[in-house]
Symmetry: C2
Subunit: 407 residues, 2 copies
Amino acid sequence: MIRINENYLKLKASYLFADISRRVTAFQQANPDKKIIRLGIGDVTEPLPEAVVAAFHKGVDEMADAGTFRGYGPEQGYDFLRDLIAKEDFQSRGADISGDEIFVSDGAKCDTGNIQELFAGDIRIAIPDPVYPVYVDTNVMAGRTGQNVDGRYEGLVYLDGTRENGFIPELPGEPVDLIYLCYPNNPTGATITRPQLKAWVDYARENKALILFDAAYEAFVRDPELPRSIYEIEGAREVAIEFRSLSKTAGFTGTRLAFTVVPKTCMAYDSQGGAHSLHAMWNRRHTTKFNGVSYPVQRAAAAVYSPEGKAQSRALVDHYLNNAAIIRKEMTALGYDCVGGENSPYVWIDGKMGSWDFFDMLLSKAAVVCTPGAGFGSCGEGYIRISAFNSLANVQEAMERLRAVLK
Amino acid sequence: MIRINENYLKLKASYLFADISRRVTAFQQANPDKKIIRLGIGDVTEPLPEAVVAAFHKGVDEMADAGTFRGYGPEQGYDFLRDLIAKEDFQSRGADISGDEIFVSDGAKCDTGNIQELFAGDIRIAIPDPVYPVYVDTNVMAGRTGQNVDGRYEGLVYLDGTRENGFIPELPGEPVDLIYLCYPNNPTGATITRPQLKAWVDYARENKALILFDAAYEAFVRDPELPRSIYEIEGAREVAIEFRSLSKTAGFTGTRLAFTVVPKTCMAYDSQGGAHSLHAMWNRRHTTKFNGVSYPVQRAAAAVYSPEGKAQSRALVDHYLNNAAIIRKEMTALGYDCVGGENSPYVWIDGKMGSWDFFDMLLSKAAVVCTPGAGFGSCGEGYIRISAFNSLANVQEAMERLRAVLK
């Protein structure tokens, strides 16, 4: 008899975006004339940069000619892209990362979800709260947790993000082996300073722990004092894997390209204490279960790093950062405490009432969709996330409506 | 201390293609003037169909305009593609599959590798030999096997493919829960008849087993008596998941699009005997760990199903089938027993000596690269695989050279 992986039965159904969708649909049906403005999901709205589009077309044309056609490429990505990423995203910032430490993939969601396969089943895992649900769910599926009790899984070490710590959790009070960090943070928009990040790297080095650093929003960092990569911190090459994506950097949410950095100096251990290269293990996983990213998409991605592509991508991010600044300014003026909205596309707002109550109020009175913070973990209760991913006109109109409702 | 998944240590290093590459490189260096013809790896060589290229460009153009731009799409694929696949690949052949049973992905390698996550750790798995290495390796990584002893992993039930059974293994002599089948077969090129496939479906229904049916080469089936989908067999909707790909169908090895069919009637069981929908479980896995295929690639894929796209893709497959027929005819005329090469792009040849000896002979005397059958499992020893994926001129020249060497 074919039996299931019963860990799936522990998963709490992900009601967050389904719930939002249901409530928005009901509201629209009851108010068919109202124009709803969506500042909920973190999806980009602006078209691909021109340089990217031109390179994408060129890549497609190469596939149309027998002389330039490409079949299977290297699973890890073409060298033309890996070397460019290493140079532009890392070496240019003083981070010692080489092209063959870059693993190109079709999404950071896949990579952050799949990486846990490399580790033992009984490691101790530290998970921030609030948090992107993929980190938790993929470990539940793999059997590294117990049951969900009152919104938290048994067996995980939760790192609380609170107003008091500015949503930068303290180091864990008990030993942990694997640590998920995400900065600029989704959902809170909080950023981490170099000294704060160094404390985590030092902790990992002292405890032979590993940090999984999700830097999907690094392009939004404009403050030169803030790190954009964990490899800007001394010693991180030994204890950190970093996840990046072009989704928010260059509008690739529908085009799909991301990459994971696994330094060759990054080790994990067997039960006898023997050290094993995580680069070699991820390479084995990647080549066994993945066949590389679409060639024209890799050409499109390479154009993000051209002089034109860099300027155009920066303009895209500027657009969203401007929206974020408007949201933060308006909400602050209305008397709400905010985190994020600077060096980040997300504004995390203390709603001074239940997350879903605030969500319902904004929807019913202003026809504006946000995301209830409670959907990201119990520390998110009482907060909402407003996303800057929309047109300037829509953000301005949403803020006018909020002013009318909340003033 | 961060500890590794020690199952990775059981993996036999995959020397096959690395070994081939090393020997080919050494030969080329010693014979710089010789033109090597590669009939080894199963990678397509001909450009994308015109209709596909046109749709691909159109999809890219949509991403360049704010009015038509697409961000995150449905993880399972857009309905325009899922419905088309269901209609053209299944309903048109009498297989009762609906669009929402199609999960679009970026590769059959990913899907055949990831599907095992849905199942318990201690199920009994039947694996054909010879076989595509991904089925075995992904189960080794997940801990469903013991050590590798003399080329076979402890704990797996191997289904021997031999000259006597025409490389269609008999039903297992001991109970199994999960069965991997691939027809037309990689590497042997063998095809399965309806009665033969029905015997497997009946076995699965009687034993509450599940069949994972890899149909990546179904487009090469031209004999109307042969099944192209397992869902042409009565009862298969209850006991089979099917994997498809456009890689060989329409030249997508570098473009990347595949799909997995999980019928809603397909169940697996918990330890209490309770039935669970594999459609719901795969949907949970797919939405948690994957973010959908690039939008322009989905548009390109949809064009494969247009009248022009169908004709052009068929012409592509015809081209490779013609090559396969030439290879089979020549090798047969030279006195070699062959399987495949009809309704399949692979010709599986009894070399009448060791696989690697035959490989070395073809390389050194004819500068032709094949794949040693021993690389696909112990039942492959003594055989070689010749692939039809090349230009007609190269195949003809390779056969002339083989004639001179082997006659």
